[in-house]
Symmetry: C2
Subunit: 346 residues, 2 copies
Amino acid sequence: MSDYYSQENHGPFELIDIGDLNLEEGGQIPNCKLAVSIFGTLNAAKDNAILIPTWYSGTNKIMEQVYLGEGRALDPAKYFIIIVNQIGNGLSTSPSNAEGELSGAGFPYVRIGDDVRAQYKLLTEHFGLESLALVVGGSMGAQQTYEWAVRYPEFVKRAAPIAGTAKNSEHDFIFAETLAEAIMTDPNFNAGNYASAESVADGLKRHAKLWTVMGWSTDFFAANRHKALDFESMRAFVDEFMTGYFAPMDPNNLLRMLWKWQRADVSRHTAGDLAAALGRVQARTYVMPISHDMFFPPSDALEDQKQVTNSEFRPLHSIDGHLGLFGTDPAMLEQLDSYLGELLRS
Amino acid sequence: MSDYYSQENHGPFELIDIGDLNLEEGGQIPNCKLAVSIFGTLNAAKDNAILIPTWYSGTNKIMEQVYLGEGRALDPAKYFIIIVNQIGNGLSTSPSNAEGELSGAGFPYVRIGDDVRAQYKLLTEHFGLESLALVVGGSMGAQQTYEWAVRYPEFVKRAAPIAGTAKNSEHDFIFAETLAEAIMTDPNFNAGNYASAESVADGLKRHAKLWTVMGWSTDFFAANRHKALDFESMRAFVDEFMTGYFAPMDPNNLLRMLWKWQRADVSRHTAGDLAAALGRVQARTYVMPISHDMFFPPSDALEDQKQVTNSEFRPLHSIDGHLGLFGTDPAMLEQLDSYLGELLRS
């Protein structure tokens, strides 16, 4: 296991064994461990629990740093907040930390539904929860949020999918494929049996470059937002910030998350009928795309929102695009907090 | 020279030798040949000539098929229309058809300014023109259009840059870099000394996939426009249409055009002062971005337009995005014809 995925970098988190997890694609993760970070206290009525799943490449740490805080919507003084790292992200059971046959390229293909079933087991059996006041997540966290609201409609009282959709689009599938190919075409990738993550640095850099192009927005760079973030040029932004961000990550971890992202689809519950799947949602739902998101655009999010009964469309404005999720735009975070606060009070 | 770049596929075009072309980056193309396609007749006043430069990967043929026609704005019955293939596109002097030292990977780096000086020589010395009623082009054709209007302000009476900007953005530079890397990382690319273009098929396919993601728009696929174009799935659209389009092209040709595209910048004339460069334009100019263009967005085009004195901002609406240039959206072509007709009458 690489040092990157350490308690020092991402902790404190607790590893909780939820037992064997049977996977939708077949096979099993024996003794699946979820890395969990907890804030606040569960009240006597057990009705103040909030679940936050993680996005592609993210861990509990960025969710804590960017979204939680005293006096903010997600306030540990009021809520019992559980951040659960997705399977494959390097903290929960993942290619980089699994042993034996499941290690590295031998790691099985995991779906969003597997994560959500694992999280349900965790919340009900380990924490004894009977409901969630809110599920909120961005990007792949939004995909898990929709999956929660469709799969366990009575359990989820409120839902806030940010910058993500209920069914991944064909366009997004191909974008994610270009990300995967950037890594897999590195000659040192060797079908996932690489000597070290460092040896795949070139592929990881190309992957970071694609994220630079699609992750922010044309307006972000036109407005010199990357310079405002203290990078003197686009090149420095690519080489230092974006490449630096992804470089220490494990390629197989990223690829298993990509595979999962591409196939997110709540209509798997209803034989492909998306309206029927979203019709199951009982949660009060705020659908929150980011205005300049290039691959989960507001137009796609609006189509989802129209099909959720008790929902509102609350787009967030930011030229930072999808990666505004990183918390780079304080005004967007304020807008988000305002909407989440309103949703939690409703 | 590959069969793809043949008279059969792209003709009729004439190869006109404009003599030796000294290049801005140093070096020379001896006996530079421009592939030219001509329609209509020059009138006695010599004031009805229209120049159409080509875009990345395009040739005179698509410009003729999509943009010219009887009763349309660019009507050969009224205008003397000259379509000039850009250097490096496979018809004009290019890596794929140059001989000796300039062949293949030995081909020099050519800038937009080199193309425009070559075209100026062609128009003045070969055709005896003293002015152009209009320069109109899309994408890299727009880059050449701006270069024409800044470099030869008295020569160009009207200008219509479509889906392109006067100075390539940093964002676009990185996007183009991902396209180049998709080709160059193919193990068979061999630093440009590949056995055949066919041997670089994998790299060309990845390049086509990136074009699929950024060239159209998320809305295009969400609205199933690819299915309306007779492709049953996104996969078929990528594999058959996009990959099929780029597969027969020569990798070195594409890479030299990419290099040129990345560095387009009229402010090279004014020590980096874009406002000063655009302030030189005398042409009546219609700036026409495409609404859903993901890398030459309307917001960037608007900044250009504001700095051209005698100009108007005329965005074209199409969810087809940048590749609406291919003529896939008849409504956009109608809008374009209407604007171009108005510009030509002014």
